[in-house]
Symmetry: D2
Subunit: 339 residues, 4 copies
Amino acid sequence: MLIVMHHHASQAEIDQVIAAVVALGLQAEPIPGSLRTAIGVLGNQGYVDDSTIRTLSGVRETIHVSKPYKMVSRDFHPEPTIVDVSGVRFGEGEKPVVIAGPCSIESEEQMMAAAELVKAAGAQMLRGGAFKPRTGPYSFQGLGFEGLRYLQQAGQANGLPVVTEVMRIEQLETICRHADMLQVGARNMQNFDLLKEVGKTGHPVLLKRGMSATLEDFLAAAEYIIAEGNNRVVLCERGIRTFEKATRNTLDLSVVPLIREMSHLPIIVDPSHATGKRMLVPIMSRAALVVGAHGVMVEVHPNPATALCDGAQSLSGRGFSELMVEINRLNDFLGGRDC
Amino acid sequence: MLIVMHHHASQAEIDQVIAAVVALGLQAEPIPGSLRTAIGVLGNQGYVDDSTIRTLSGVRETIHVSKPYKMVSRDFHPEPTIVDVSGVRFGEGEKPVVIAGPCSIESEEQMMAAAELVKAAGAQMLRGGAFKPRTGPYSFQGLGFEGLRYLQQAGQANGLPVVTEVMRIEQLETICRHADMLQVGARNMQNFDLLKEVGKTGHPVLLKRGMSATLEDFLAAAEYIIAEGNNRVVLCERGIRTFEKATRNTLDLSVVPLIREMSHLPIIVDPSHATGKRMLVPIMSRAALVVGAHGVMVEVHPNPATALCDGAQSLSGRGFSELMVEINRLNDFLGGRDC
Amino acid sequence: MLIVMHHHASQAEIDQVIAAVVALGLQAEPIPGSLRTAIGVLGNQGYVDDSTIRTLSGVRETIHVSKPYKMVSRDFHPEPTIVDVSGVRFGEGEKPVVIAGPCSIESEEQMMAAAELVKAAGAQMLRGGAFKPRTGPYSFQGLGFEGLRYLQQAGQANGLPVVTEVMRIEQLETICRHADMLQVGARNMQNFDLLKEVGKTGHPVLLKRGMSATLEDFLAAAEYIIAEGNNRVVLCERGIRTFEKATRNTLDLSVVPLIREMSHLPIIVDPSHATGKRMLVPIMSRAALVVGAHGVMVEVHPNPATALCDGAQSLSGRGFSELMVEINRLNDFLGGRDC
Amino acid sequence: MLIVMHHHASQAEIDQVIAAVVALGLQAEPIPGSLRTAIGVLGNQGYVDDSTIRTLSGVRETIHVSKPYKMVSRDFHPEPTIVDVSGVRFGEGEKPVVIAGPCSIESEEQMMAAAELVKAAGAQMLRGGAFKPRTGPYSFQGLGFEGLRYLQQAGQANGLPVVTEVMRIEQLETICRHADMLQVGARNMQNFDLLKEVGKTGHPVLLKRGMSATLEDFLAAAEYIIAEGNNRVVLCERGIRTFEKATRNTLDLSVVPLIREMSHLPIIVDPSHATGKRMLVPIMSRAALVVGAHGVMVEVHPNPATALCDGAQSLSGRGFSELMVEINRLNDFLGGRDC
């Protein structure tokens, strides 16, 4: 950490700051400049909580050099992590994974039909929401545990591991029995109690970026899971909230190579929620692969026009088949290289 | 809802949209224009889920006239709601409420000292966090249930109702026994399961705006609570996330009068979390009252320099006493008028 | 336009609004709903200025169906526009164009060396800034007209058309003589007088998106140029300002296919300014081509470590050669299809 | 400046960075830490251009301690600046100034009527736009030089200094003859050539914050004007662009006390453009004064319902008179103290 003093800070103020650093068990190294003094803080093993220092007289600002995460960082864990979900592998050197399925599970038939077309087109995993986070209470909230059974059946019948969102801690045990992977949604990315409990399960986790989460917040959220002993975490970029309303969110593809550099965890992209527009899903899926995503997750519905949720961004079976052809061509093109 | 067709939409496409509207049990009213046709949708009793319609051929966009909330709206509930928390009243016509206390409960002594100075300065309610949502897992996470007891003792000893944050559903029953008001934090504003369970308790709730929540998202979150039969909800603006980093968040004071017009619920302001800077807390507290907030919540610590959390934005006892003098002067000035 | 009345609007208020619409020479079509009345406005040939209507009693909001642009819109001009810059062609069906060169022109030697390596690597156009928009007045502001000559010489010696930024109207005549294409920078995207004068020159224009410009603002800015009779406009996405600071801006690649659908103008991408990080430039260039950009503009410097401006985001000659090999492979892969 | 090295940076990489710092004529002070080395840079008299250093191998990031402005900073100019505009004084210790008038000048009669009601209500300055920056080219663009004469006449007849926006450099000479103060609008805040020329005039300037300008960008823009020898600059907060669309922009009132601390220049607030809603203008004007603004600028129109521009956010004569009564009461309440 670096402590920057005001231009007019007195020597007494500087001495008080040095004493406060020492009181934290750290060393202080003053760096006198022509305009102001800065004080380097040494000896910390990680992020320093600066709240007691920022308040001292004469301090203009504190600048963190360490980050609020460590175990997710490639600095401290240079080897890439491969996350295996019932045989489907996410990570460096693996073929990108396609997860597909409806936004929400609506019926046994819908889920089975979706699984069949997802399988037929060549995707490796199945998604479907049993518990749905909806902005308003009057929208369809999901079928709950009943839906979970439909999802599991559809996955087993088609040889596809399944992922579904968990919204409350009490659901965890049951969902772990029915699903191969737990999804933590964007709205719960900083529901820290849920993260801790998800960490304790040891189950594979798909952690979506919150819509106002910085890269640092995102990695710190993953750190909550890993700190509980579960490093089977796949990150998912799904768009951030900005002033631009032409798309539902703004897909931030630049974070994919950044995360690959900063962390050893796999990172995939969800172009369906990011854009909210079906026409953009195939094109942004391809872009995701080109920037190095370890997979994509797309919404597919046997009949988007009757979907109870997010129909406008769901691909039809035919649209999805065409996308899979494109994805396979692109993977062949990119293959053999770490793009 | 209004459906806007593409410039080049055919009559067949228009007819298909009309049929889809009718299939939802609603009426469609085409409005041919010189450049394009729009189709008004009539007969809905609330928000229409437009996902099946947005996907039809020839549709450019759908525009919602109804909102994803109703019970929080002043349109349907013109009388202001007064929320009574153990005798402290929030809402139109009531004196603005000052809630104060430390970010986190650190010890029995600290909490008692905080309560005494909060009381002595003239605030009406006491705050203190037992369960703390922190960005990274290595920061202090709060004392938990032990802290809760310290909070309750400190409140009772000083005749101050207390509010504390709830982070997981299993904590609810215990917190309801120890605290007069439940706080749902910004990071959990769209933790919909928590909102529902908070709604079921019937306990007074302080709902903080999420850092990327629109006004509409915020009111829809409150609707989740009210829809469970609990209308004892006080809203709290605490800053939104923007590109500007000179303050921790950007305090959006304009929403206070907007919310007062759109909803019957009380709305207060938290300038401590919004700005993250102690020097801004008094000045933005006064501004909050001038724009019509029904109260403010500020962080106060007996010794900010040793605070385990958010020391840099906490007022000292002396700073808080001075603020209360200012607030009382301002309330007298504003008094008798609906500002 | 649609006018949405308040729930409690009286018939007299509705009648007053209808009268106001008629006073504008338009027709009003009331659409009574179960909760509120909306009023459709018909007969307008374009965007309606709603300021006199929004102010009337009983009006809740007005919703625009028409947009503040028309000539840039594909609705009214379905044929794609090809912009020819001294033989280099931008647009649908053309090979993507690579524009490369240093952020700023620093000397005759630097510019010539840059042009040679840009040419050798296979790019089609040369860039270089003679007039530099810098955040602070003490940063290098560019060589001015002298730099312009170096740019022109370097372009001619290597058979590369050149593009350079114009910052003030008086520069236009001279820049048009020395450069094949005028760049309007992000900070001047809403410098409407400059847009009008650029429009009058008839010269090809590269219009960069402002860092807080919506898609609608961006297209409306292009409309200013076209409205003066100059449709030789190439749009350029270069990142928007968001809360995320891990990259200089947030590159919004989703707008590329959206703009291709909404407008007939070519659209390219500048990954150098968008990301501000050299390591991200090649990867985001490839992504730009995959989402359908008609070209990319990248910063290349013979010696990035000594660059007077933006060295950290500039590719070296070797880095750029490698990128061109990648781009050519990718173009071959994408070729023959409209991606 | 502080240079932060990668965890795994070698001694050779560290030595190379030190050499690069020395090559810039500065001193380098390595600060070895337990996790990584940082290098303090000493001896600079201001902002260091770090582009050559950020590119070196082993460098993770550079952190600026100095800012891209100096003359606007209170650090180097502790005395507050009072800007006198034909006898109206802006700044610390002066009574807050109210500037009022129509968004655009529409006719001789409208301007005179506006001036009369502005004067009658007690405002000190008159505003009116002769050259209007409009998003689209088909909206009313202002009366130009003819409008300027109406503004000057109306001001002189009522004893009110006038301020009007300048959009291009060639207008400067004429506008300086007709207006007491030049306004640089939000869209031109980084039109650096305009800033320089405005600086050369020595005329008082009202500089509006750009809608995506950070505090640092804003102050650096003011530095452009002062660096030309003109320190008669009044800053104006007018809202920033965020995800929230319930208001036209998000009024960032927290910057007012921040700017008062960081700079010696006066700062006023424009609640009309910030909110875009007439009902919010009086309430946010009062809040502006409470947070310490040295004035407010509000849109007033003799007949808002017929305004050619921004009618929805303009106050009527009666609304403005009522606001002035409120403002005067509030000023009396705040008076005698530096709030």
